[in-house]
Amino acid sequence: MTTQNLAGDFYTQCFLSEQDESGRVILNMGPQHPSTHGVLRVIIEMEGEYISRAEPVIGYLHRMHEKMGEVKTYHQYMPNMGRVDYLHALAWNWAYIGAVEKLCQIEVPRRAEFIRVITCEMNRICSHLVWWGAYLLDLGAFTPIMYAFDDREQALDLLQMITGSRLTYCYYRFGGVRTDIDNQFISGARDFCKLMKSRLPMYKDLVTDNYILRKRCEEIGELPLEMARRYGATGPVLRGSGQKYDVRRAEPYSVYPELDFDIPVFNECDAMARYRVRVAEMEQSVRIIEQALSKLPKGDVMAPKAPKRIKPPKGDVYFAVEGARGKIGVYLASDGSSTPYRLKLRSPSYSNLSLFAELAQGTLLADAVSILGSLDLVIPEIDR
């Protein structure tokens, strides 16, 4: 036994014990590393600059959201959802609210449904913009994130007007939404759509078509469809592998069936395909927002008969929405009391991360960073 074998924590030792050939460098990428975006830790076995083995270690940001769901009442738990995935907080809001509404059979007014669609899609654009900037930062381009945050700022200002917060929203309510949107918001949202329509082509010219960037993304991290299915990958990761699966179309909810939008799919299976899917999704989200704004009906934003105190009947329910990272599912088992008996959160990042170990094998360290970025992970969502 050398001293090296005694070094490190439990995970490192487990990793070392599985090492078939000694003499390779073991690297700890994270929990504090610029390109793991949060507190993800990846143990890497390096052979020169090539990765022979990689293993993600998670749990550094575990906050027991599921357990908290069992302890808190339905209303008390709502703010938690904004903290699970801070980048697409409204989708998680929706998944939880939707599950409870489905269980209690609460009717949501149509105006509220449209407002949910508008805000959720706006939040999706924000999320993709952050991913876009951060991914390019991983690839060494410093400037795009500044442009992305500039655009995101416009959407955040709008969302702040009606939700009161800028990142961890708690806006949807059982039976509707918290506040109605006014003309100022509507004209602001239209301006934002216009802005995004002018920006996305510029981003394409400036970044997507860049030769260096394409060389860093194309044929990197090739994820065959079969493998994506095996790991339960969803969202842009799955759609980048050629599977046209989107919860908004596959298991329609809310007013999405009434709206006309495409599901972007790319068959190249590489990091560039995932990149293109997300950029195309931003375009589609702009389309959805514009349609929803023009179709916005008048009426209540809260169901008049929505119960003040949620006490669902006995039973269980599963409700899924499409988040920016994939399928967000909430499973809720109720025993008839004012707190759920069990709450299970299905987070897309968790499944998407599990791909990484297999995907990173045999790649260069720089490619592993590119792959990790292309999976668009949000660490709080993985650990919940």
Partner: protein, 328 residues
């Protein structure tokens, strides 16, 4: 005999004055360039950049330098302390010598060595050693990876760099920098870049790689290697590397100016030579900054591919072309 004894002190005094001037220039230049870099980055990224300290934020870098000096010098446990601290010094020490033989104007040169070009190339090669020692002495795997990268990068890019320099010297027939400048005319179409455009482009690319600037900043690729070879450095240890990087930028830009852009020559009276020289140098420096804030980083194997598969054959052809066209 007396003649020689009289000559040596005069030369020495000239060199000493030159060295003092160079050291002052290095310090001032770094202060200004860091400010300019941050303002350029701010301009490209549509944000103001530093504006809080002093008018237009001019004093920001000065304050940063004071902060760096005030910081605790920290060396990692288990690291080789001698090598660890030798590295930043080694990165900084050759810099004054690099400027020694660079003519910034007519007769404005500290030491007009007849092998000036070789002097600069030799001393700038020491930078790799500094990076290598820093990576090894840090006792950090990320630093080590950065050091390994820097060595293979330097080896790969020094070859095309030397070949393009060789092509220029083949044309001018001298290694003396002032003579190379003299061989070029006052107007842009009389400069070497038009005679060997390929050499000029190759030189600029290699200069970027040699100074470890983006998109070739692989030894310190922060998203991959946290900060590469200078991960473990704090205070002025980091400050010296920083100083070295910004000075190296000016050195390669000066080289490029002298070899391809006519040095201090330009239209107008000769007294304007210094202005022309620095205008060209800083234009090149700003070009390097522009590239840094625009492009993503290349991957390591791509970086080596660019050199071995494209730049080296191209620079060989360039040399051949110069030999054929110019000599015949």
């Amino acid at each position: 005999m007396m003649n020689i004894l009289e000559l040596i002190p005069a030369e020495l005094i000239r060199i000493l004055i030159g060295l003092v001037a160079i050291l002052v220039f290095i310090a001032l230049n770094a202060l200004i360039l860091v400010y300019v870099e941050r303002k350029v980055a701010g301009f490209i990224q549509r944000r103001p950049g530093p504006y809080e300290v002093g008018p237009w934020g001019i004093l920001q870098t000065l304050v940063d330098a004071v902060k760096l000096m005030g910081k605790q010098l920290f060396s990692p446990t288990g690291g080789d302390r001698l090598l660890f601290w030798a590295a930043p010094l080694l990165a900084f020490a050759p810099l004054p010598l690099l400027f020694l033989s660079i003519p910034v104007g007519k007769n404005l040169v500290a030491y007009d060595a007849n092998l000036g070009l070789i002097l600069i190339l030799a001393f700038s090669g020491l930078n790799v050693l500094a990076l290598c020692l820093a990576g090894w002495g840090s006792y950090n795997k990320w630093s080590l990876l950065g050091a390994v990268r820097s060595v293979s990068q330097a080896v790969a890019y020094e070859i095309p760099l030397l070949l393009t320099v060789l092509a220029v010297t083949l044309m001018t027939g001298t290694l003396q920098l002032s003579a190379i400048v003299e061989s070029q005319g006052a107007w842009p179409w009389q400069w070497n870049w038009l005679v060997q455009p390929a050499g000029f482009v190759i030189f600029v690319i290699c200069a970027l790689a040699e100074t470890n600037r983006a998109p070739f900043d692989l030894p310190e690729a922060e998203s991959e290697l946290t900060a590469g070879f200078h991960t473990e450095y704090s205070g002025m240890g980091f400050g010296l590397f920083f100083l070295a990087e910004y000075t190296a930028m000016v050195v390669v830009s000066s080289m490029c100016t002298i070899l391809f852009l006519g040095g201090w020559k330009g239209p107008g009276p000769e007294i304007l030579g210094v202005v022309w020289f620095f205008a060209k140098v800083y234009a090149l420096v700003i070009l390097m900054m522009w590239m840094r804030w625009t492009f993503p980083r290349v991957r390591f194997d791509q970086l080596l591919n660019i050199s071995w598969r494209w730049l080296i054959p191209l620079s060989l052809f360039n040399l051949l072309y110069v030999a054929l066209v110019v000599k015949i």
